[in-house]
């Protein structure tokens, strides 16, 4: 038996066990298992370093880790303060050079200035010269999650996703409270003390990507798509109840209310028209269908003139094709108020008419109210019809038609 008693690493212990089985040697070790001593108050278990013969208790490990963390936090704070000082100085100098008051200077000004002063042709935008506040580029300094005694600060620390589950439990508490309130009000017949209303507009909840990034950047918690799904279910359930103001504010952290006018179409470039040299309002858009390509201009102040490749609606011989061209105007009730000028190439009759329809409906958007624009999008007139002739397959006559089937 070995005389010297030394603490061994895990690998050595395993090797010793194997030797014992194989050769019959015994390796005397003080087998100090990590969690051999359990006491009420402190984690007094023991861990062993193979490099040193020092035996460290778990409570001491925790305190040493905490001290290291606090040291790093102090260094980080010093760094941040230095960078902010430099940033503020440079900002003032830049403003002086540009002739602007530093309070009126925006990020766009800074970006323009740096692109002028320090131009670079690098593709990677992250490696170009930048001028940012340290909060924008330094990593977030997380708080140490424990108190002095080693107790965690967050009451759901052991769930591994404390802030996510805190949010979910808050929503659950609110739903419970509101349910009980409804019962109370129903039995008593009185009006509630606070102003409680149902939501008129639905909420649009956060994307999965934004949701995951939020928790990763702020709290360094990994959240999954299933968690996001559950989040949406819970918030939806809450939003269907009769809510107080504080509940609506709580929901606004995690979603936006859809207004009657959708903001994307209102503020986008689709809703803006241009003006001619003569002062006429117009909008040109391209439309396509199959292999037909159309270029359509719509003049806002018109009298219902339609021109297709220099001709009128007679360009199309079939009635169906003419109807396709007229349909967006009929929907928006703007036949008399609008002039249309279109040029078409490629395709056949149906394809060309479909292309003009596509271009026309997109060009009509600036001259039409938001409700009508929503109607057009609902009708599918703004989408490009992606149907194309299906290819022929070998072993068949055509795309779908098979050869004659013989019993024998």
């Amino acid at each position: 038996m070995a005389a010297s008693i030394q603490p061994l690493s895990i690998a050595a212990r395993v090797a010793g066990r194997k030797l014992r089985h194989m050769n019959g040697h015994g390796v005397s070790t003080p087998v100090i298992h990590k969690y051999f001593s359990r006491t009420l108050s402190t984690d007094d278990s023991v861990s062993v370093d193979s490099s040193t013969t020092k035996v460290q208790r778990r409570s001491e490990q925790i305190s040493s880790a905490m001290k290291a963390f606090l040291r790093k936090a102090k260094e980080h704070e010093v760094k941040v303060s230095q960078y902010t000082e430099e940033y503020e100085l440079g900002r003032k100098h830049l403003a002086n050079m540009m002739g602007i008051h530093p309070d009126e200077m925006t990020k766009e000004h800074i970006n323009e200035a740096i692109q002028y002063l320090l131009p670079s042709g690098l593709f990677d935008k992250g490696s170009r010269p930048q001028f940012k506040h340290p909060n924008d580029f330094l990593p977030v300094n997380l708080e140490f999650p424990f108190e002095e005694s080693g107790r965690p600060k967050h009451y759901q620390y052991y769930t591994l996703k404390p802030h996510y589950y805190e949010m979910m439990s808050e929503a659950a508490w609110r739903t419970e409270y509101l349910k009980e309130e409804e019962v109370r009000i129903g039995f008593s017949g009185q009006q509630p003390s606070e102003v409680m209303t149902h939501l008129t507009e639905e909420f649009e909840w956060m994307n999965t990507q934004a949701f995951i990034e939020m928790f990763k950047s702020q709290f360094s918690e990994t959240v999954t798509e299933a968690d996001h799904k559950r989040f949406v279910e819970v918030m939806k359930k809450l939003s269907l109840m009769r809510l107080r103001e504080q509940d609506v504010e709580f929901l606004r952290h995690y979603g936006k209310q859809k207004t009657t006018e959708s903001q994307s179409l209102d503020s986008g470039p689709d809703r803006k028209y241009l003006t001619d040299d003569k002062g006429r309002k117009y909008k040109t858009m391209h439309g396509s269908r199959k292999s037909a390509r159309a270029r359509v201009t719509v003049y806002g102040e018109g009298s219902g003139v339609i021109e297709i490749n220099g001709k009128g609606l007679e360009y199309f011989e079939s009635v169906y094709a003419r109807e396709q061209v007229l349909f967006p105007l009929v929907l928006t009730e703007s036949i008399d108020t609008v002039d249309v000028e279109a040029s078409v190439e490629g395709g056949g009759e149906m394809g060309q008419s479909g292309a003009i329809r596509h271009g026309l409906s997109n060009a009509l958007l600036p001259f039409v109210s938001q409700q009508m624009a929503n109607k057009l999008s609902l009708a599918g007139l703004l989408d490009r019809d992606s149907r194309v002739k299906e290819r022929m397959k070998p072993g068949q006559k055509k795309a779908r038609k098979k050869f004659q089937w013989n019993a024998r």
Partner: protein, 304 residues
């Protein structure tokens, strides 16, 4: 009446009269007194009695046999424990004299609960007798309308024990973790944990949370010193993983065990109802009260 049955009939009548006198059995169901089957072959009154179940035999022993009323559960008295001072101080870290263990009920836990409150909050109701776990038989009093009824003479001292233990742990600065996987009562359990200044885990339990703690957490974390189970079972109906993990890590557990639960790995089981909201509210209130009381004591004694 057949001659062979006279003896049995006489005993039955005697027992029946005794039952009427015994108040505690008002409305109780005693199946072996009601003749169940009469076969056509039995031309004469040959009563076929079913063999009584084990619990009904216990019933019988208590009531029918003239025994003096023993205390059904021993009143547990804590032994006077005098720790070695040096070792205790080294482990505690805090230097304050610990007189708490000299008293059997230092935190006056017995005045917080009594039998009436348990009865009113429906703690004595169990599940259908078909769901009965065999290890829970010793905690049951009997059957009523096919539901198991807990013996509150056995739950009450165990409740006191558990509360006293929790108080002592919190008095020494221990971490308490509330665990429950019942969706109905999850908000309440989390609220009690937050109000008491302790921790809760009523969500998906990642296996290895306690046994493999260093891998799952990025920082070195302390294990909880007590784990309290308001529901020892999963949402599926099987035993919660945390029970075995605590047993492996030698973490003492307190748990409310219903008649369909397994009480083996729980150090301080509280046999009682875990399904009705009144009972769960009572338990949460009691745990919160003990923890806050113990923390008050700790504040006072640490300052000294």
């Amino acid at each position: 009446m057949a001659s062979g049955c006279t003896k049995k009939v006489d005993t039955i009548l005697v027992m029946f009269n005794r039952i009427k006198k015994a108040k505690s059995l008002a409305g109780a169901y005693i199946p072996h007194l009601c003749p169940q089957r009469k076969y056509k072959t039995d031309t004469k009154a040959k009563v076929v009695l079913p063999r009584p179940l084990r619990i009904e035999r216990i019933y019988e022993e208590k009531v029918f046999k003239n025994q003096t009323e023993k205390p059904l559960a021993k009143e547990v008295e804590l032994v006077d424990y005098k720790p070695m001072e040096n070792e205790y101080k080294r482990l505690l870290g805090d230097t304050f004299e610990d007189n708490a263990l000299q008293h059997p009920d230092f935190f006056q836990v017995k005045e917080m609960v009594d039998m009436q409150t348990l009865y009113r909050n429906r703690v004595h109701y169990g599940h259908h007798f078909g769901c009965r776990h065999p290890y829970m038989v010793s905690f049951l009093y009997g059957l009523r309308h096919n539901t198991d009824i807990f013996d509150l003479d056995r739950t009450l001292p165990r409740l006191h024990l558990a509360l006293n233990f929790i108080a002592h742990v919190v008095y020494r600065g221990g971490i308490v973790l509330f665990v429950s996987r019942n969706a109905q009562h999850m908000p309440l359990v989390e609220k009690t944990a937050r109000n008491a200044g302790e921790y809760s885990h009523c969500r998906f339990w990642k296996s290895g949370l306690l046994t493999n703690i260093d891998r799952l957490f990025s920082n070195l974390t302390r294990h909880p010193d007590v784990v309290i189970f308001l529901h020892t079972q999963n949402s599926i109906g099987s035993d919660h993983i945390a029970v075995t993990e605590c047993a492996k890590m030698l973490i003492p557990t307190v748990g409310v065990v219903d008649s369909n639960c397994n009480p083996t790995f729980i150090t301080y089981p509280i046999p009682g109802n875990d399904d009705s909201p009144d009972a769960v509210k009572l338990y949460c209130k009691l745990f919160e009260q003990t923890i806050l009381r113990a923390k008050e004591h700790r504040k006072r004694d640490v300052q000294k």
